[in-house]
Subunit: 215 residues, 2 copies
DNA sequence: GCAAAAGTGTTCTATGTACACCCATGT
DNA sequence: ACATGGGTGTACATAGAACACTTTTGC
C-alpha cells in the first residue's frame, strides 16, 4: 500500500492515502493517476486502475465538506517513491501491518477506505484476471498462485490450481519457454490472456472468505 | 425503473433518473433517499439502497461540471409516483423497454448509469439475498424464483431452485403457512433470513451471464 | 376427473479436493 | 544421490442439471 506522511494539519505526521483535487476539465480517472504520481514521484502508469467508491460523510474532514472518489490501482515491481507536495515522506507498506497496534495511524476515514479496497481486491481475484496485475508480464503459475495465497491468506494445492487456471478459457497463454531460476524443475512461462472475467471463477473457500470480508 | 420527465433545458422533455444536489451536512445516503422522494412523491423508504458509482466526465452536463454519485434502490409493490419540483411527470418504466428504439430518450449519460445499475443488480442476485428486496415481506418460492427469471431472463427448474434456496443457510425462513391464491397446490410462505451474503452463491449460467453484462 | 402448480426422488454429469507419483534441475 | 519445486494421474466427495413422479388445490 502506497502511503504518504502528512506534513500539514489536520493529522500532521499521520500516514494517508495519496490524493487531491480534480482539476477543471479533468476526468476522475486522470485525476487519480496524476495525484498518485504527484505525491509519490511515481510516473509509471498502473497495471490496473478502477473506481472503488465515493466517501462523503459530512464530518469526515474537519476543515470542510469533502467528497472523495476513491480509486484502487495495482502495480508490480514496486518502484521506490519520493515525497511530493504537502508530504513529508512516501513509502510502501504491507497491508497486513496497517490497522493493527504496531502499524501507523491512518488519517481521516482512510482505514475504512483501505479496508474496502482490500476486500474489493480479494473479491475480484475470484472472478476476474486481476491477479495478473500483481505479477510481471511473463510469469510462472507458481508466481500467480502466490498472489492468491498472499491476498487470500490461504494455501492452495499447486496441482489443482494449475489445472483450474489452465482450464479457464483465455485466462493465461503459454509462452513455451521455461523460466531460468533457482532450485527445482524450471517452470513454464505464461502471460495474461484476453479474458477479463473468468468463467468459471476461482472460488475461494468459505474460510478464505471469512478471513477479510463481509463484502 | 423510476424516471422523471424533465421540464427544463437541457434535455427538456427527455426522461431522466431522479436526482439533485447534496445539502450541507447531509450524507450521500440521506440525499439519495430525499431526492428520490422529492421528485416523485414517494415517501416509503426503499427496501434496499446502495451506492453504484460516481460519474464525473467533464462534459457529461453541458451547463457545468457535475459529479453524480449514483445510488440503486429497490422497492416492491411500486406505488404510483407523482411529478415533483422541476419535473413534468414521473412514472415507472420497464427496464427492458429503455435503451431500445421504442423507448424514450434518456438525458445526459443516464443510459450508461442505468446499464451499470442493471448489471450490478444482476450480479448481486448471485451472491446476496437482494432478490428478497423485490418481493413482499412474506413470499412463496415461486415468487422468489420469478425475480431471478425476470432479472436474468432465464428459465429455472422449480425443483432445483427450491432445493438450492432451502439448502443455502439463512437465506429464507419457513413460516409454516400456506399462501391462499389461485389454481394449483397452495405454496408455503417464507420470509427473508438473516443471511446477506449467500454461500454457496446462486450461480447463473454462462448464457444468463452473457445476457447483460461484462461486469 | 383434469389441469396446474407445489413439492420429492433419482440419476447423471461436472467440478473441487486430496494425495500419490513422476520429471527436471541445482548442489 | 538427494532435495526442491514443476507437472500428471486418479479416486473420492460434493454440487448442479434434467426429468420422472407424487401431492394438493380450483374448476
Amino acid at each position: 500500500v502506497l502511503l504518504v506522511e502528512r506534513g500539514e494539519q489536520p493529522f500532521a505526521g499521520c500516514w494517508a492515502l495519496p490524493g487531491g483535487f480534480v482539476r477543471p476539465g479533468e476526468s476522475l480517472h486522470a485525476a487519480a493517476v496524476r495525484e498518485a504520481g504527484e505525491e509519490t514521484g511515481l510516473t509509471l502508469p498502473p497495471r490496473h486502475l478502477e473506481q472503488l467508491r465515493t466517501y462523503g460523510d459530512p464530518d469526515r474532514d474537519p476543515r470542510m465538506r469533502v467528497f472523495s472518489v476513491a480509486y484502487v490501482a495495482m502495480m508490480p515491481d514496486l518502484p521506490a517513491p519520493s515525497a511530493g507536495t504537502d508530504a513529508n515522506d512516501a513509502a510502501w507498506w504491507v497491508a497486513e501491518d496497517l490497522g493493527g497496534e504496531d502499524g501507523p495511524e491512518l488519517a481521516f476515514d482512510h482505514p475504512q477506505i483501505l479496508a474496502d479496497a482490500v476486500e474489493r481486491v480479494r473479491a475480484k481475484l475470484e472472478y476476474t484476471n486481476l491477479a495478473t496485475a500483481f505479477v510481471g508480464e511473463e510469469f510462472t503459475l507458481s508466481e500467480l498462485r502466490r498472489v492468491y495465497e498472499v491476498v487470500w491468506d490461504v494455501k492452495l494445492e499447486p496441482a489443482n490450481f494449475r489445472r483450474k487456471v489452465l482450464s479457464t478459457p483465455a485466462f493465461v497463454e503459454a509462452l513455451h519457454q521455461t523460466a531460468s531460476q533457482g532450485v527445482g524443475r524450471p517452470a513454464q512461462l505464461y502471460r495474461s490472456g484476453p479474458a477479463v472475467q473468468l468463467h468459471p471463477a476461482m472460488l475461494r473457500s468459505e474460510q478464505a472468505r471469512a478471513e477479510g470480508g463481509r463484502g
